[in-house]
């Protein structure tokens, strides 16, 4: 028999054990800065993706630009635009192994927990900024049918439906599907189409079996497909300072198929609890880009990836939670194999402006009437990569309860090996029209193998003092982001190598540095891990009923910081470099208060993140703020619910939210920035027995703000945030 819908659903779920994960500290007051968002809050605030958590959680910022592949996440001043993330993501305890899968539609999510600060001891690689643990709704939590349809002001549609069933007391089954047809907010004036339109569809099949009182199994199969546009990039007119309309001629899109199956086994012997989490993950995606983002036919990229990963995490923990000494030990292993193809096509304008002009500028000083010419105005630099990564880790964490004091000490040894087989090549014909009468073939290739081995020791220490109203704590942790390879620089390397090969074949050496690069070998495409130490003090207080206060102050020292570097000149690639040393300090404050039907919550984060040293070869940036990460994040959400004893209408909730962030600096020199900006939203929910109607609005003041800035072949681009939007949503729960 189905349970009472909606409110009952949320209420029941909150009462159920929050997480069965042996790694989780389920206490409300734990020695860590954390933000927890319940299912009721997720649905009340209309959080549809991780990006929409941005600013709600203090010092957590994920700008919404590019496409779903763009999961640039910044926590406490640190983040990354490409490659290794600072934030780990687990879904139902299964670690998501590729950042490209981080942006997906959240549906039927029971709880989101964001742990800030390095979580390396328990979670390992790529958690130096924290971990986000997402828990989906379980058929043991609730049974029934849930459906949702939504229509937004730009005529986008979203829908989901799910069925949760418990055929027997020991078996739970759920199936949920969700889809979104996005009409887009930004028009490409060159093609006169919405550049960010697209669709996605996803599903989750969950089977849970309580075999007996000692053994349970939970299998979660998820799959998702997205086919979308994006890349609403506007060229900056450097003379006027205005942004040109979005206008680029070549297609830009992102397609992704992701499939993941996780099997979580829990075994309880009475003295020992064991959790085994096994997963297989597949990610196949294709990103097509007009890389110059102008109406010119310069160069395009079509990057295809196919990644297969397996993970295994075994945790054992003592079962006696009243014991003074509690401990857990874990063994983690993973392997992933990435095949990537990323051909860059140089088109007419690109061949002329990016390649031939560089060469002929030098030639013209001696032979003003003569040129080097290619036999084509369109050629491909093909780059293929095979990148396997293998890693294993052994970890331990002990908890000592000494009256009101709790001491925690943990240590993890993490080792990772990775290699890259690369094959980059291009073929064309060339001639110097002063001396040659025929085109001469030029075949340039760059093939080889790189290998890296990393190992890290990741300790954690914390001291917690507990009182009747909460706790205060101090924590020291070490985190790291893994190393890797700069696959996106290979077209630049080969382009440079082509010019050098051709000039060498001609017996020419240009005085100009236009063709000289500082990354002429594949060893320059490697980058090593980034590590950080995080020092934190904080408190969780609940001095009176329905009032909770969380506060934390942190200091982070970051070593070998991975910085995205754009090679100088009219280059076409970008690369990660361990070029910087940085530090960050700041505070986080969250206050939540409720009285009868009224609830108000405020979240604020301040970060002062600066380079201690960073020299890009031209300029020294020591003391400058780290770009892309906001100085302030703030959110204020207030709601009031009227309970109506009516057979038809049970409840009306009106909520308003304000979010703000800034300043965000766009470059290392700190000459460009987005000042602090505000976004205002509101939502009205009418709740009936089986139906809930929601009318919402976002960015109600239609604030004009930038989400992203980058340079490409000497041009500067900005990506604006989404404008005013509104929508109507109907939820059905039976």
């Amino acid at each position: 028999m189905a349970q009472e819908p909606t409110d009952s659903l949320h209420h029941d779920i909150e009462l159920v054990e929050i997480s069965a994960s042996l790694k989780s500290d389920n206490r409300a007051s734990k020695p860590i800065s954390a933000t927890t968002i319940t299912m009721a809050q997720i649905e009340q605030r209309g959080i549809g993706s991780i990006k929409e958590l941005s600013l709600i959680a203090p010092n957590f910022y994920q700008p919404d630009y590019g496409s779903s592949i763009t999961s640039s996440i910044y926590v406490r001043g640190f983040g990354s635009r490409i490659d290794q993330p600072v934030l780990g993501l687990t879904i139902d305890d299964v670690p998501v192994m590729n950042k490209n899968s981080y942006d997906f539609d959240l549906f039927d999510i029971r709880r989101i927990e964001l742990l800030r600060g390095p979580q390396g001891t328990l979670y390992g690689r790529n958690t130096s900024g924290g971990v986000m643990n997402i828990t989906s709704l379980s058929p043991f939590d609730w049974q029934g049918f849930r459906g949702m349809v939504e229509l937004t002001s730009n005529l986008s549609q979203r829908a989901s439906m799910a069925y949760y069933s418990k055929p027997t007391e020991r078996l739970g089954v759920s199936l949920s599907v969700a889809g979104n047809n996005e009409m887009g907010y930004f028009r490409n004036t060159y093609t006169d189409t919405m550049c960010d339109a697209g669709y996605n569809i996803g599903g989750r099949l969950r089977l849970q079996w309580l075999a007996n009182n000692h053994l349970s199994l939970d299998n979660i199969l998820t799959a998702g497909y997205t086919d979308e546009g994006g890349y609403a990039y506007q060229l900056l007119d450097k003379e006027s300072g205005h942004y040109n309309p979005i206008a680029y001629n070549d297609p830009s899109s992102y397609k992704r198929l992701s499939i993941s199956d996780g099997l979580v086994l829990h075994w309880n012997s009475g003295n020992i609890r064991l959790q085994s989490t096994t997963s297989v993950q597949y990610l196949g995606d294709e990103m097509t880009l007009d890389q110059d983002f102008t109406p010119k036919s310069m160069f395009t990229l079509q990057q295809q990836q196919s990644e297969f990963a397996i993970t295994e995490d075994i945790v054992i923990r003592n079962a006696d939670t009243s014991s003074r000494w509690q401990w857990l030990c874990g063994l983690f292993g993973f392997a992933k194999w990435l095949d990537m193809s990323s051909p860059v096509t140089f088109k007419h304008d690109g061949v002329e402006e990016l390649i031939l002009s560089n060469i002929n500028n030098g030639i013209h000083n001696v032979f003003p009437e003569n040129n080097i010419k290619f036999d084509t105005d369109n050629f491909v630099i093909a780059s293929d990569f095979n990148i396997p990564v293998y890693g294993t880790a052994l970890y331990h964490q002990s908890y000592f309860d000494l009256g009101r004091w709790r001491l925690t000490a943990g240590l993890r040894f993490d080792i990772e090996q990775t290699s890259m087989d690369y094959h980059s090549q291009a073929e064309l014909g060339y001639m110097f029209d002063y001396t040659m009468t025929e085109f001469k073939p030029l075949h340039t290739k760059f093939k080889g193998r790189e290998k890296q081995l990393f190992w890290e020791v990741l300790p954690k220490f914390s001291v917690e003092y507990r009182t009747s109203v909460g706790n205060i704590y101090g924590t020291i942790t070490r985190g790291y982001k893994s190393g890797g390879y700069n696959t996106q620089i290979f077209s630049d390397i080969l382009q440079s190598k082509m010019m050098n090969d051709m000039l060498s074949d001609l017996g020419i050496e240009l005085d100009s540095s236009a063709t000289q690069t500082s990354y002429d070998s594949a060893s320059a495409t490697r980058y090593k891990p980034e590590t950080s130490w995080n020092f934190e003090v904080g408190t969780h207080l609940s001095p009176i009923a329905r009032l909770s206060i969380d506060a934390a102050a942190f200091w982070i020292e970051c070593f070998d910081q991975q910085v995205t570097v754009l090679p100088k000149g009219m280059s076409t690639g970008r690369m990660m470099s361990n070029a910087a040393r940085a530090r960050s300090y700041g505070v986080e404050l969250s206050v939540d208060y409720g009285y009868r039907g009224f609830n108000i919550r405020g979240d604020y984060g301040y970060t002062n993140a600066r380079f201690r040293k960073y020299n890009d070869g031209v300029e020294e940036y020591a003391g400058k703020r780290i770009p892309y990460s906001p100085e302030h994040t703030a959110a204020l959400i207030a709601s009031y619910s009227w309970h109506i004893d009516n057979n038809t209408l049970q409840n009306i909730t009106l909520s308003a939210d304000w979010r703000g962030t800034g300043s965000i600096y766009w470059n290392e020199a700190n000459t460009l920035r987005q000042p602090f900006y505000s976004l205002l939203g509101a939502q009205l929910t009418l709740r009936m027995k089986h139906v809930q109607l929601t009318i919402w609005g976002r960015n109600l003041l239609n604030s004009d703000y930038d989400q992203f800035y980058f340079k490409s072949v000497g041009n500067e681009f900005f990506s604006k945030g989404k404008p005013l939007s509104a929508g109507i949503k109907v939820n059905v729960t039976i």
Binding site: G362, I363, N365, V366, M431, F432, Y434, T435, M436, T437, K440, D505, L506, G507, I508, E509, L510, D511, S512
Partner: protein, 151 residues
């Protein structure tokens, strides 16, 4: 400089005279071992009273069918020239005995940048090559050039 060039020219003429005296007893110098180039100074008369000098110019040679071909690597002929190029001069007459060879050539079109450079046709080329030294003098187009290298 003009005096130095005159003395150099007299020395070259004398060497050629001596070489010619040896007649049929000519012995061609062996092709050099790869990597053992002559390294020396290239001087170009700019025809305006100034001279452009480039140090550490590498010159390599090869003898095929009794003719000497030489390559001057990464050379510039004027300070303002923004590129360095490899110049190949082929078909130079070569006479002499072991350790003392003389070169002579006229109206030779050099090769550079993938093809012939008629504008810089080599004239009045004379030179001496020994196992240790290479001395050349020629006009490259309208520009008088000398090279003195050792190995």
């Amino acid at each position: 400089m003009k005096i130095a060039k005159l003395i150099f020219g007299i020395m070259l003429s004398a060497a050629i005279f001596v070489s010619c005296e040896n007649g049929d007893n000519n012995t061609l110098p062996p092709n050099p071992v790869e990597g053992e180039c002559y390294i020396g100074t290239l001087t170009v008369d700019q025809n305006d009273g100034t001279f452009y000098t480039q140090e550490n110019v590498e010159v390599d040679y090869q003898i095929i069918d009794g003719k000497l071909n030489f390559v001057m690597y990464k050379v510039k002929f004027a300070n303002g020239m923004p590129i360095k190029l490899d110049m190949v001069v082929e078909g130079v007459d070569c006479l002499g005995a072991l350790g003392n060879y003389t070169l002579a050539g006229n109206n030779i079109i050099p090769y550079a940048m993938g093809g012939p450079f008629e504008k810089y046709t080599i004239t009045e080329l004379i030179g001496i090559i020994t196992n240790q030294t290479m001395n050349l003098s020629f006009n490259c187009g309208e520009y008088p050039v000398t090279y003195q290298g050792t190995r």
